[in-house]
């Protein structure tokens, strides 16, 4: 092995040697520099390999004396890893900056080389003063690199940077020298051993050292200078500062913190959390791309600081957590800065330019998701372990802070991503591709997946199947340039094979999972069939659609909470991309994502707490919880209810479902929402019959009832057909929540029947309306009408759909209603029951409005020639109708297995079957009988009418009375515009958008706080210095008090 000390030899020697290379041969100079860095990289890399394969760490002594008499450096596993990371990003960064360096000439090249070398040394050295020297080397080199691309701004930023670091270095030096005075050594390990914090002076010295190191990590609010640097310096340089320097300085704090006493962990933890939350909060208002990245970097460092500070609670998990999150930040942030340099757009709204080269968009998305901590990226596992460890240690505040911070980060990152995906880019210039800039980004983009997958294999309890299906996604991206039919077939085959593999097995073993898998996968296939109706390529649709279905499948087959959460996040990501595809979906996609993230964090916290209760992540262990039951289950319930869009958490749904594409709406409405239902069922099974469970159930029951009522009322007042259906979904999910909450045999029967029915008829309705919308090109019902003439197929489908939905016998909807009554009387929830019943009746209002306004009434002139819905939509629609018919004619076929299934958890109470005749505790009902009776009667009466009015003459449309002229807004005179005006006058107040207002107020609040808060960063370097000093004092006084 080459001694790590020769990293210095190569770095410095190379730098000096470059002086000989002719000033003309600039390319040569730069290339030599890269070679040098590569050599340094190979040294550290070989050490990393050595140590990973069981080698022993080595201590390098200089001048042949042992410390403290002389300086020594350590090359351990951490050092090897971090130096490798630094040299690697240094190499790529050098390649990225090749042009600039060449332009600036050999001196700049030397500076760059020395910068990387210095970072290596500060990672390895074990001597406090030596640390100081090389920290100065690095900060001077940084200042030099900031000048690399010289603009007025970069010079200002550089000067502020030098002022701040000047103070910091001074404080550090003061601390070191006094530490030497009190301990008699400069060696970090000796300092730690000497425990000089016992003396007051020693404590101050230690404080100075540590606070200086903290300040190097840009803690909020003493970090204005850092933000300026990130914003103003060349993106390539910013990438290095964010990836390489941050890594190195974090590790410095990591190794030096041992000289402080226990309090220091708390101080650093608090400082970190404040930074994490604070800078992410201010980032919300930021719209300059690179400054925003700066805020994000600072935030991430804060998180890392907090993790270090929480060491006492994390135990042996610390390094795993720190490294995963550090690596994600390192890769993602460098990648993002490099991207910023490639596309050269300052305002985040102009990042739509990425769509000129979709691969860049993919990379951007990758980095964003990696930062937030989605699977399969390392940070996902890091956050998971972090939360679990913290909850085991009972650090609830820490959990809250970290999750809030991450959420705030999500706000701006996903808004940004939304801009990139949706905004118009046609006016923006072309991206000019320089390969030396693209390659590094690409490498990091790939690397982050590789490392993520590797981390996954290191996790216990995550079996390989969890990312096996994911391989489908890159494949679909690869073939994204093909036409729709091919890709659609492949996608369907993919889902079908998966379904074929799992379904039969489940049918034997696990009815519940069978049913939901059926809904998810078979529903998926049916909705995918509709995709054949699309022309062209439909780029990017299939990967994300499959992503969602894979996620759903993973949720089902998850055996422990980690797998469940993994699948949950995958599913969220996929559905987000599906939803945001719609034309006007940008804001809705964002709000969907934010609610999902918040929900996911609620789940995470819940899982964490339950893990703390029963040190196991098996889902079954949820039932073993003894204390904190209410908190844990409430958290989990909230998490799931963000997906089921229960009242209060529903505001994302209408827009998201209404604006989505025609075949996406059924996916996200009929199928996706069931994921939340499944979650709730898992949860309640775990809750069992404990008194807390009953209380939670009671609350959920009321919540569900009110959701049902409000959802239906709101639906009745919509003018937009798809919005109407969306609100209807909200209320339907309200029923299901209500029924589940009863936690009784009948209640769950009701819930299951509703789930299946809702899947059937909501898929039918959304598919049909979607297809109609595709034909007529508007969502607004008052712009349609009379379409029964052009689209009989669609009309019949909708009619069946609404009869089923309204629960009118003889169709299957009635099964739900009948069970519902028995269940309500059984658990004696009379008032809630009445409310739900009432809302069920209100359903008639919007159902009539839907079918009347679209298909009946006057045919509009502009729609006179529209064709019937596409056959590709008709196929799935009529398949589903067939399903409804079977279910209606032979309900017992479905209900009896359901009954057996539910009996596992809620013993059967007097619901008995005699052929088709079901007898409940309160009533009886013979589905088949009713069907036949009604059928015969209907036919008889029809025959009678045919007999008496056989001569009826068909008349043309205009052969009737007309009234009213055409005023300014013609729709106002349309009968189906504001159809239930009287009703609105009487009950409209019930659906005044109070909740939306509430969330809007919240948003405004956050924004204004961010707006006023960030004015703290006045831009005056002197003020920043004052902050730095004040920060030091603040830490000092918090320390002594």
């Amino acid at each position: 092995m080459i001694s790590p000390i020769h990293i210095i030899t190569i770095g410095l020697g190379g730098a000096f040697a470059l002086g000989f290379v002719s000033k003309k041969a600039k390319a040569l100079t730069t290339s030599l520099m890269l070679v040098a860095i590569a050599l340094m990289g190979t040294i550290s890399g070989s050490w990393l390999f050595e140590l990973l394969s069981g080698g022993t760490e080595t201590m390098v002594y200089t001048a042949g004396f042992k410390p403290p008499y002389s300086i020594n450096l350590l090359m351990g596993l951490n050092e090897a890893l971090l130096t490798t990371m630094i040299n690697f990003v240094g190499l790529l960064g050098g390649i990225y900056l090749f042009g600039n360096l060449k332009k600036a000439g050999s001196h700049a090249v030397m500076v760059f080389l020395v910068f990387i070398m210095g970072l290596n040394v500060i990672v390895m050295t074990r001597d406090a003063f030596n640390l100081f020297v090389f920290m100065e080397v690095v900060s001077i080199a940084t200042a030099g690199l900031i000048l690399l691309t010289e603009t007025g701004k970069s010079v200002q930023a550089g000067f502020k940077y030098m002022m701040a670091t000047g103070i910091v270095a001074g404080i550090f030096l003061l601390g070191v020298i006094f530490a030497y005075y009190f301990s008699g050594s400069l060696n970090i390990d000796d300092l730690a051993a000497a425990n000089i914090t016992a003396i007051k002076g020693g404590a101050v010295a230690v404080m100075m050292i540590l606070v200086a190191l903290v300040l190097e990590l840009k803690p909020f609010p003493a970090n204005g200078w850092a933000l300026d640097v990130y914003e103003a310096s060349d993106p390539g340089v910013a990438a290095l500062i964010s990836a390489a320097s941050a890594t190195a300085f974090y590790y410095v704090l990591f190794k030096v913190i041992s000289i402080g006493n226990a309090d220091w962990y708390n101080i650093i933890a608090i400082a970190g959390m404040i930074t994490f939350v604070g800078s992410n909060l201010f980032g919300v208002k930021q719209d300059k791309a690179r400054r925003l990245l700066g805020y994000s970097s600072v935030g991430q460092l804060g998180l890392l600081m907090a993790i270090l500070g929480l060491k006492p609670y994390l135990g042996d998990k610390l390094e795993f957590i720190a490294i995963t999150i550090l690596v994600s930040h390192y890769l993602a942030k460098a990648g993002l800065f490099w991207l910023a340099g490639i596309i050269e757009q300052e305002n985040i709204k102009d990042w739509a330019i990425l769509r000129r080269k979709p691969i860049f968009l993919v990379l951007f998305g990758t980095f964003v998701f990696a930062l937030i901590g989605f699977p399969p990226f390392p940070s996902f596992y890091g956050k998971w372990e972090l939360i679990l460890a913290l909850s085991s240690a009972g650090q609830y505040y820490a959990i809250a802070f970290i999750l809030i911070g991450s959420f705030l980060e999500g706000i701006y990152l996903f808004r940004w991503l939304g801009y990139a995906i949706k905004l118009d880019y046609t006016k923006l210039p072309e991206i000019k591709i320089e390969w030396n800039k693209v390659i590094p980004v690409a490498i990091f983009g790939v690397l982050i997946y590789v490392i993520g997958a590797y981390t996954g294999t290191q996790m216990s309890g995550l079996d390989s199947l969890c990312y096996g299906p994911l391989l489908m996604i890159p494949f679909l991206y690869a073939i994204d340039s093909l036409k729709v039919p091919i890709k659609n077939t492949i996608a369907i085959l993919g889902v079908a094979t998966f379904a074929a593999r799992v379904l039969p097995g489940l049918y034997e073993t696990d009815m519940l999972r069978f049913i939901f898998t059926f809904i998810f996968l078979v529903g998926g296939i049916l909705t995918l069939i509709a995709g054949y109706a699309y022309k062209g390529k439909r780029e990017g649709f299939y990967p994300v659609a499959l992503l969602m279905f894979v996620g759903l499948a993973l949720i089902i087959r998850a055996s422990n909470t980690l797998e469940f959460f993994y699948g949950w996040e995958i599913m969220t990501a996929g559905s987000y991309f599906l939803i945001i595809r719609g034309k006007k979906s940008m804001p809705h996609g964002l709000s969907y994502m934010l609610f999902s993230i918040a929900g996911a964090y609620a789940l995470l916290a819940g899982f964490g707490l339950s893990f703390a209760e029963t040190p196991s992540i098996e889902i079954s262990s949820l039932s073993a919880i003894t204390s904190n039951i209410t908190i844990i289950f409430s958290l989990l319930a909230i998490g799931f209810m963000t997906k089921t869009a229960s009242l209060g958490l529903h505001i994302w749904l209408p827009g998201a479902h209404a604006e989505a594409e025609s075949d996406v709406s059924p996916m996200v409405s009929a199928i996706l929402l069931k994921a939340g239902v499944f979650g709730l069922m898992i949860l309640m099974i775990a809750m069992g019959h404990s008194p807390e469970a009953t209380n939670i159930g009671y609350v959920l029951g009321w919540l569900g009832a009110i959701t049902a009522l409000v959802g239906n009322l709101a639906a009745a007042f919509q003018e937009d057909a798809k919005r109407l259906l969306a609100y209807s979904s909200i209320s339907q999910l309200g029923y299901i929540l209500f029924a589940l909450a009863m936690m009784s045999h009948l209640g769950w029967m009701t819930a299951m029947v509703y789930s299946i029915n809702h899947f059937l008829y909501k898929a039918i309705l959304f598919l049909t309306i979607g297809a109609v919308v595709m034909r007529v090109g508007t969502h607004y019902m008052y712009k349609m009408g009379g379409l029964i003439k052009n689209m009989p197929m669609a009309f019949v489908a909708v009619m069946i759909g609404i009869i089923a939905l309204s629960g009118v016998p003889p169709l299957s909807g009635f099964a739900g209603k009948w069970l519902f009554y028995n269940a309500v009387l059984d658990v004696q929830w009379y008032f809630q029951g009445a409310i739900v019943f009432f809302s069920g009746i209100i359903a008639f209002l919007y159902l009539f409005k839907l079918i009347y306004s679209v298909f009946l009434g006057q045919l509009k002139d502009n729609l006179r020639h529209v064709k019937d819905i596409s056959i590709w939509f008709a196929i799935p629609i009529y398949t589903l109708i067939l399903g409804i018919m079977i279910f209606s004619a032979k309900p017992e076929w479905v209900l009896q297995p359901l009954g057996d299934m539910v009996s596992q958890w809620y013993p059967n109470s007097a619901l008995s079957w005699d052929g088709g005749l079901a007898t409940g505790p309160y009533g009886y009902w013979n589905g088949t009988g009713v069907m036949i009776t009604v059928g015969i009667m209907f036919m008889a009466l029809l025959g009678w009418l045919l007999l008496v009015s056989r001569k009826a003459v068909k008349v043309k449309q205009f052969n009737i009375v007309y009234s009213a002229e055409a005023p300014q807004r013609p729709e106002t005179t349309h009968v189906s515009y504001n159809m239930f005006a009287g009703y609105n006058k009487a009950l409209g107040w019930l659906v005044a958008p109070k909740i939306t207002e509430f969330w809007d107020t919240m948003t405004d609040w956050v924004h204004s706080v961010a707006h006023y808060g960030r004015q703290l960063y006045s831009g005056n370097g002197q003020v920043y210095v004052t902050y730095v000093v004040a920060y030091i004092l603040a830490i000092y006084f918090t320390m002594i008090f």
Partner: protein
């Protein structure tokens, strides 16, 4: 399901009785209304004449399938309600097909007719019919609230949702009738009945306005005949439902006729006394007094 002709025969016979009684009753009520308004009014056999005339009319037009099916749905609703309703307690055969479903079935089957009607009239394309329907639906939703509460209260009281059992539980002297054992629920129910039969003050839904509104304005000839037939049946059946729920059902046809008459008369009585409500008024009204009674009914029995 065992299909025996005897039951079918009795059922059809019952249907015939109900139909005629319904028409007679409506004639009487119109007469009453006229007398109150100091008019002479129609002869008692007027409805039969109308019916024959309507069925006999030869010039008929239709706007399309749904328009044609509308009345069929409507009358199926009425007849279906009759089929699932026990008529005469004690006689197995006058119980019709009530063994196929309980109160819940009845409550939801009411919508069957309305829905089809709404669709049919809708295809007519005349805005006024749609307006009528939207009003009808609006009012109907709120009528159901006190109704449901009352029914739930009964279900609690008798611990069943089977109408037959409820009636049986009321046999043996009128002190057992729900009207005495559960007066509050009865009040709520009877108030809901006013809306259900949509007489004044809740008859904005139906035609008798300055501008004729609602399905009946669209239909004529045989269609109107069907609708009138249905109306006759439906009124009696509705009354019968309330009779069964609150007034101890009927053990023979005489009792049946008497009780249904009185129940129906109650709505007419109110109708001639009170002026007409606008929709938002009636909606609001049903969510006030009747609702209060409904809730009270449950509180008392839970």
């Amino acid at each position: 399901m065992d299909f025996d002709l005897k039951r079918l025969g009795f059922t059809l016979l019952g249907l015939l009785i109900v139909l005629n009684w319904g028409m007679l009753m409506s004639a009487i009520m119109r007469k009453v209304g006229a007398r109150v308004a100091r008019r002479y009014g129609i002869p008692w056999y007027q409805p039969w004449i109308d019916l024959v005339k309507n069925y006999a009319l030869r010039s008929q037009i239709t706007h399309g399938i749904m328009f044609y099916l509308g009345p069929v749905f409507r009358i199926s609703g009425g007849v279906g309600l009759f089929l699932f309703m026990p008529m005469i307690i004690g006689s197995e055969l006058w119980m019709n097909y009530s063994f196929q479903g309980d109160l819940v079935l009845l409550m939801y089957f009411q919508f069957f007719g309305m829905l089809g009607m709404a669709l049919g009239a809708g295809e007519g394309g005349h805005p006024n019919s749609a307006i009528g329907i939207s009003r009808g639906l609006s009012q109907f939703t709120v009528i159901e609230v006190p109704m449901t509460l009352a029914i739930i209260s009964l279900a609690i009281q008798y611990d069943t949702l089977s109408l037959v059992d409820i009636v049986k539980a009321q046999q043996g002297g009128f002190q057992n009738w729900t009207v005495w054992t559960n007066p509050v629920a009865t009040i709520a129910g009877m108030l809901a009945l006013l809306g259900a039969l949509s007489h004044s003050p809740f008859n904005l839904v139906k035609a008798p306005n300055e501008i004729p509104i609602g399905p009946p304005t669209e239909y004529h000839g045989a269609f109107l005949g069907v609708l009138r037939t249905n109306a006759a049946i439906l009124h009696v059946v509705e009354a019968a439902l309330f009779m069964n729920l609150f007034f101890g059902g009927a053990t023979n046809w005489f009792e049946f006729i008497l009780k249904t008459f009185l129940i129906y008369f109650w709505s007419v009585f109110v109708g001639v006394v009170f002026p007409r409500f606008r929709i938002e008024q009636s909606v609001a009204w049903f969510l006030k007094i009747p609702l209060v009674f409904g809730i009270l009914a449950i509180i008392l029995y839970m």
